[in-house]
């Protein structure tokens, strides 16, 4: 059985195709990450096509597709939409069964999710979302903030990451993406080395994330997902600021899409089970 999850964020569209052959653990058969661009629906469609191609399965062979991310409502092919909070939680708990906290920094928001651990409770199974916090209205301290820096320093994220690892952090006082730009231009005018600015911005984002994280009691293991988790130097700074180790998945950008695919699998298996036991047709919530 093949299922998929598609996560269309503000910066990137991600897709994961899972193969399940009867055992307990499904296998990631294909994955894709593409820039979202201006056409949300098309980006989701292309990401799914690419993941299908990598898995060498036809679109028609997918039993079920779940959509998540800001563009989730724009994808006509999805059977169901689920928020990225539930999907990141699901994906992270799958990859790290002892995870208690999931930190996710995306293009325009950052979130901290607390997961049920241990035996769970009467209301929630282990791995279920217990509580979460999300940044308010503005994009301060998210991926967007880093995009601004990337533009001014003319360095892609990989180069920023390398620069930040060697730089001595300068203080960045403004967390507003617009005002920070002014501040950074001022620092450059004073001949501050770019790696020091990069290190300063990384630390400022990490501190802001920690402030959000500390509104929820930290417990068990911590998992860091989302676009920013691709940078090893950022993950190291975050771990230092947080005062605890953070687990970074091998492919942190697709954790939301993986969670969506796992939710697809649950539903597809439940449908298959219902079909074999009661011989009724499988439900399709949304054509």
């Amino acid at each position: 059985m093949y299922v998929a999850g598609v996560d269309v964020g503000s910066v990137a569209a991600k897709a994961v195709v899972l193969e399940h052959t009867g055992g307990e653990l499904p296998r990631v058969a294909g994955r894709a990450v593409l820039p979202t661009g201006w056409n949300t629906a098309e980006a989701g469609e292309l990401a799914l096509q690419k993941a299908c191609a990598e898995a060498a399965v036809e679109r028609e062979a997918l039993s079920r597709i779940t959509a998540t991310g800001y563009g989730r409502v724009a994808l006509p092919f999805a059977h169901k939409t689920i928020t990225e909070i539930s999907c990141h939680a699901r994906g992270a708990a799958h990859l790290f069964p002892r995870a208690g906290i999931v930190l996710d920094i995306g293009g325009q928001d950052s979130k901290v999710i607390s997961l049920e651990t241990g035996q769970g409770t009467a209301f929630r199974k282990p791995g279920a979302v217990r509580d979460f916090m999300m940044n308010d209205k503005c994009a301060a301290g998210t991926g967007r903030f880093l995009q601004v820096l990337s533009g001014i320093l003319n360095m892609p994220l990989d180069d920023l990451s390398i620069a930040a690892a060697v730089g001595t952090p300068v203080a960045i006082s403004s967390m507003c993406a617009v005002f920070a730009e002014t501040e950074i231009v001022g620092l450059l005018a004073k001949s501050t080395p770019p790696q020091d600015i990069a290190a300063g911005v990384f630390r400022a984002i990490a501190r802001r994330m920690c402030a959000l994280a500390k509104r929820i009691p930290l417990h068990d293991e911590c998992v860091f997902t989302g676009g920013l988790a691709v940078s090893p130097s950022f993950a190291a700074i975050l771990s230092e600021e947080l005062g605890m180790p953070v687990n970074v998945p091998e492919d942190p950008q697709v954790v939301g899409a993986l969670g969506a695919a796992l939710i697809s699998l649950d539903a597809a298996r439940a449908n298959a089970h219902a079909a074999t036991t009661s011989n009724t047709s499988t439900e399709r919530e949304k054509p």
């Binding site: 689920i82 928020t83 990225e84 909070i85 279920a128 979302v129 509580d131 979460f132 999300m134 209205k137």
Partner: protein, 379 residues
């Protein structure tokens, strides 16, 4: 769900501003009020009509921001903007405004409002004890004296007692409507609860309002008995607590219901706080009035134990699955109290809790939708 008596309330509301004007033409005085701490009973005993004043819409805020700080609470800005634009028919009709020093933002706004309308300001104590009660009763005495002079009437103990009886009947009528939502599933949606409690707060004829609310409770009760539901049986039942909401500031209630939740109880000053407790009809009228109003569990009270007691009781009575705490941006008392409330709801009531801080604008709708949807998925 919508029904005949629901529509009657809606259409009476549409003609309401006109009805207030008619009453004024016949010599009735109008007392405008912003806050639940201001006693309608005293206005009623003075033979006047107490009405709520506008303050729940976003479109009056830009005008207010010409004078007030932008970071102020939207309820205060909206109220003041209506005064500046002269766009609230009830404020226009009001002979006097009775207000109280609920919070810092409100009391300073009332100082500015006094340039446009005669304002009688009650000094609200912020702790609920016997000293405060005596002080608060004295404030009511001053209001009685003020209205007697202003309207050339005599407010007797008997008139005050009659007013208490009338207002208790109004509380009971609104309570009958709100208690419909105790049923599972609820025959009335959260948006409908909000609409009814909002629209019935402007009626000049109390008796007419009471009768219409009883009709609604009866009709919806009968429809529910016949198996008709307003909210889906599977929808998680949400208790909304915190700041007041009305038509125009209903964003969060609408979003919760659009995301599949069912708001069954509005634990705020525009909702169940009005009706949860009746006023004693036998004691000294001003003392009983002062006691009932001082007991309103707004976050301005410090400490504020009755809010926790009320939420515990309401969570059980309305069989809720989760609590959503709404705070207007700039409302410091509710914002700070949310920390203690979160602990109480999660640890003592064992219920999921979410706080939302927002304003009247639509700028954060998409963000809020993600949070609310995720919260409902969690239930």
């Amino acid at each position: 769900m919508r029904c005949q008596s629901f529509d009657r309330i809606v259409s009476a509301f549409e003609k309401n501003a006109l009805a207030v004007q008619e009453a004024k033409k016949q010599g009735k005085k109008v007392v405008g009020q912003y806050c639940l701490y201001s006693p309608s009973e005293i206005a009623v005993a003075a033979g006047a009509i107490p009405v709520s004043l506008c303050g729940t819409r976003n479109d009056s805020i830009p005008a207010a921001e010409e004078m007030l700080p932008r970071a102020l609470c939207p309820l205060i800005k909206s109220s003041f903007g209506f005064a500046l634009n002269d766009s609230c028919p009830y404020l226009g009709a009001a002979d006097v405004v009775v207000a109280d020093t609920t919070c810092d933002g409100k009391k300073k706004m009332y100082e500015l409002l006094a340039a446009y309308k005669p304002v009688f300001l009650l000094q609200l104590p912020q702790v609920q004890n016997e000293d405060s009660l005596a002080y608060w009763r004295r404030q009511f005495e001053l209001l009685v004296a003020f209205l007697e002079k202003e309207f050339q009437v005599s407010i007797t103990e008997e008139k005050l007692r009659d007013a208490i009886r009338l207002m208790n009947r109004e509380r009971q009528a609104l309570k009958a409507v709100m208690d419909l939502a105790r049923r599972k599933p609820s025959p009335i949606t959260g948006m409908e609860l909000l609409e009814i409690s909002f629209k019935t707060s402007f009626f000049p004829d109390k008796e007419k309002g009471i009768a219409m609310m009883h009709d609604l409770a009866q009709e919806l009760g009968a429809l529910a008995d016949a198996g008709k539901a307003g909210a889906a049986a599977s929808a998680p039942r949400i208790l909304l607590t915190g700041v007041p909401t009305g038509m125009g500031s209903h964003k969060v209630v609408r979003l919760i219901e659009e995301c599949g939740g069912s708001v069954v109880c509005l634990d705020n000053c525009s909702g169940y706080k009005k009706t949860r407790v009746m006023m004693d009809e036998s004691g000294d009228p001003l003392t009983e009035m002062a006691r009932r109003y001082l007991d309103v569990p707004c976050a301005v009270m410090s400490p504020n134990p009755r809010r926790y007691e009320a939420i515990k009781e309401l969570a059980a009575d309305f069989s809720v699955n989760a609590v959503v705490d709404l705070t207007w941006q700039g409302c410091q008392t509710y914002a700070v109290e949310s920390w203690s409330l979160k602990k109480f709801v999660q640890e003592s009531l064992n219920l999921p809790y979410m706080q939302i801080e927002t304003d009247y604008s639509e700028t954060d709708t998409e963000q809020l939708k993600v949070r609310i949807e995720a919260f409902i998925e969690m239930l």
